[in-house]
């Protein structure tokens, strides 16, 4: 079992499957929030469902809307299970806090290369840890 340590964390523990890409994230720019899929054609996860997944991406992009949108998506049950990023901007952190979505950020190494796509992972924000359970 591989254990990866984050410098920043928020939220409660969860376990789920990772959806991984070396790309950015903005709820407004990248998602069809009704269908629960990535919709921006140029995004590396275009067409993929993010619902219930541990999203492992490089960095936060775009505007301020994500902080409302994460809360709104969570209210309809079409939100990611957790967010794991190399780096984040304040909007995603504010959104994770407001939407009650666990988040880790800041690792030694590129987290999008360290977590295999589809792997089962556990996140423990209080310990700032991501564990890869099964590849």
């Amino acid at each position: 079992m591989i254990e990866l340590h984050a410098r920043h964390a928020i939220g409660s523990p969860v376990t789920g499957h990772a959806l991984v890409a070396r790309d950015g994230f903005s709820a407004r720019y990248d998602l069809d929030r009704v269908q629960g899929i990535f919709s921006r054609p140029a995004h590396k996860l275009a067409g993929e469902s993010y619902v219930g997944k541990v999203l492992v991406l490089d960095t936060a992009k775009g505007g301020v809307a994500s902080s409302w949108m994460l809360h709104e998506m969570a209210s309809r049950g079409v939100a990611p299970l957790a967010l794991v990023f190399n780096s984040v901007n304040p909007i995603l952190v504010q959104g994770a806090a407001f939407g009650d979505i666990p988040m880790l950020a800041g690792f030694d190494g590129d987290i999008t290369a360290l977590v295999p796509n589809g792997a089962q992972v556990t996140i423990e924000p209080q310990k700032r840890v991501l564990r890869i359970l099964q590849v």
Partner: protein, 410 residues
């Protein structure tokens, strides 16, 4: 975080549940970023369009607004980003009664909280710009990057819930661009040409945003020694923030914190170059068709000077496809009074107020109106609208107006 006595009282609920909820949220965010304490802010700017809030966000605001009078109001001037509609033109935009109703509920709740419904993303041109070293809590990325860079004010990107929290508590966690150390340049960008038009300034901002790549990067932009003026900075910054999540740039000799390079870059920096070919490549990457369904001037809202120029270009023309020009409620009455609105609308265009195109149910508008191929002079707008099912194309104001006349973008 280190809390003052007043902050401990707020968290204990002595001032009621609304400020307590607000400060609890701020402490969570501050702890994530390792903020030592809070800093007092003078203004807050809240993004709260209902496409983002949804029913859940609207109910959350209504719960705050239901607290009794005297225990729910903001403590500092708190203003709003654009609404999700121009109430007078919702039917023209193909927006449903349900969308308008959600917007009305948000307005009702925010007014009860003491928020001023300015509905603008160009408050630095129309309401009151922040000043050098003034700490604020602004909630539109274009507003933040302009205020930080051009005005020398201090703000992070504050999403709607956080900006409202700042309004309700009069403070924000001290992290990121509230700290001197985070405001130093992290890379130098040498530009070997000077953009001529707003779309070129936007494209240059977009290229630099992509190069810089993340929120904590602070580009030092060199090679542009003269100030291009407020509208050019507006498009430049908004695109840089949109493409790269950038919140601050410096331009030596032009922006106030960088009178000299050494003021913000005491040590050597990694350096990249940008040429005219780079912005041409960005514009070309969006040219997927030459037919156009709609022309949109928005994102950011147009200043009075932009509307004057647009009106001059529309004068005497007759449009074959819809042309929308979106401005703020502060600018619109002047545009009406000076005849710009009448000139643009006589050509077949529509001047909208208090909204911004991408914040106004753009996906549903596309479906209702059959709009897909969209021409604009806003680099920020082309970056956003791909995800909403549009084929957005970037061109000059002049080319866009001509496209509205012919239905073709040359």
């Amino acid at each position: 975080m280190r809390l003052s006595e007043e902050e401990r009282d707020i968290l204990a609920g002595k001032l009621g549940p609304v400020p307590r909820l607000a400060l609890e949220h701020q402490v969570k965010v501050g702890d994530f970023f390792g903020a030592e304490d809070c800093v007092a802010v003078t203004q807050a700017h809240v993004m709260a369009d209902t496409e983002s809030l949804g029913e859940a966000g609207v109910r959350w605001l209504e719960r705050l607004a239901a607290e009794k009078e005297g225990r729910r109001r903001v403590r500092i001037p708190t203003i709003t980003d654009p609404r999700g509609t121009d109430f007078a033109r919702a039917a023209f935009l193909g927006q449903t009664r349900a969308m308008v109703s959600l917007e009305e509920r948000v307005v009702g709740a925010l007014v009860k909280l003491g928020v001023m419904m300015t509905d603008t993303c160009i408050n630095y041109q129309t309401v009151q710009p922040a000043t050098l070293n003034e700490h604020v809590a602004f909630g539109d990325t274009g507003v933040v990057i302009y205020s930080n860079s051009v005005c020398g004010a201090r703000s992070n990107f504050e999403g709607g819930p956080s900006a409202l929290a700042a309004g309700l508590t009069g403070r924000t966690p001290r992290y990121g661009f509230h700290l001197e150390a985070k405001r130093r340049a992290t890379l130098a960008v040498r530009v070997d040409f000077t953009p001529k038009s707003l779309n070129e300034w936007g494209a240059l901002g977009g290229v630099i945003g992509r190069l810089a790549g993340h929120y904590w990067a602070v580009p030092l932009v060199e090679g542009l020694e003269a100030s291009p003026g407020s509208d050019a900075f507006k498009h430049f910054g908004a695109a840089m923030a949109s493409f790269g999540s950038i919140a601050l740039f410096h331009m030596p000799g032009v922006t106030p914190e960088a009178r000299r390079r050494a003021d913000v870059a005491p040590d050597p920096l990694p350096q990249v170059g940008v040429t005219r070919a780079d912005i041409e490549a960005l514009e070309k990457s969006y040219r997927q068709d030459d037919a156009v369904d709609v022309v949109v001037f928005s994102a950011p809202q147009l200043s009075l000077l932009e509307l004057a120029e647009l009106a001059a270009q529309c004068d005497g023309r007759r449009f074959a496809v819809p042309l929308l020009a979106v401005t703020s409620p502060q600018v619109k009455p002047d545009a009406d009074r000076m005849g710009y609105t009448a000139t643009i609308e006589a050509a077949g265009g529509t001047v909208l107020s208090g909204m911004c195109f991408y914040q106004s149910y753009a996906r549903e508008i596309a479906e209702a109106k059959g709009w897909k191929r969209l021409a604009t002079n806003s680099a920020k707008l082309v970056n956003i609208l791909g995800g909403y099912g549009y084929l957005p194309m970037l061109a000059s104001m002049e080319q866009c107006v001509e496209a509205a006349r012919t239905g073709r973008l040359k």
